[in-house]
Amino acid sequence: MRVRLLYFAVLRDITGKSEDVVELPEGTRAQEIWNRLRAQHHELAGYERPPMTAVNESYVPAEQTLRDGDEVAFIPPVAGG
């Protein structure tokens, strides 16, 4: 299946990109994508779990199983206002 990843704020700075399309095996959970990112970027070492996770523009638990076509965004600590 194919999933679109969006990077915002500090995660865009760390990864150096604003989005990605990745091929994943069926049944992949959002947390597993985060684990991959942590393995690639030492700046994320302190974050065993993503601060918050959104799939298709709604907050979900990191354990959420993804589906083909999903749009996934890990949400760094928000600071609006």
Binding site: D13, A54, I75, V78
Partner: protein
């Protein structure tokens, strides 16, 4: 209607939008870029957002507030991009027949806003820049 803008916010326009002839009060909250944060000087703040999701989350807050305070007419706009000290990043206006619930609703909106809306800020000062809330 969008809750996000890239331009300076006109708070008077927001007040006009919410005021009805039956209202006796209008509370306006402006969140403003200040010149310091935890002892460090701040010159500007860059605001970033996951725009479509932020719009949805703000709409959800406004819906909940309208249920909790049925007599209040609320409006909110958040600005994105680079803001200098003294510029407003958010303006909330709440009108109501009486002041009590207008104050309460305004406070409730900004408190919820800070918890769930996917907006981020990067503070810039003489010492460099950093994303607020991110622990290195």
């Amino acid at each position: 209607m969008s809750y996000l803008t890239d331009a300076p916010i006109d708070s008077q326009e927001l007040v006009k939008r919410v005021m009805r002839r039956s209202d006796g009060a209008c509370v306006v909250f402006e969140g403003v870029v200040r010149d310091h944060q935890q002892g460090k000087r701040v010159e500007s703040i860059f605001y970033d957002a996951y725009r479509p999701m932020a719009e949805k989350e703000i709409a959800r807050i406004i819906d909940d507030i309208s249920v909790r305070f049925p007599d209040v007419a609320p409006a909110v706009i958040h600005r994105l991009g680079l803001l200098k000290v003294g510029e407003a990043s958010i303006v909330i206006a709440c009108s109501s027949p009486h002041r009590g619930e207008a104050f309460e609703a305004c406070r409730a909106i900004i408190d919820r806003f800070k918890q769930t809306v996917p907006i981020w800020k990067k503070e810039r000062g003489p010492g460099g820049e950093e994303w607020v809330g991110w622990q290195k």
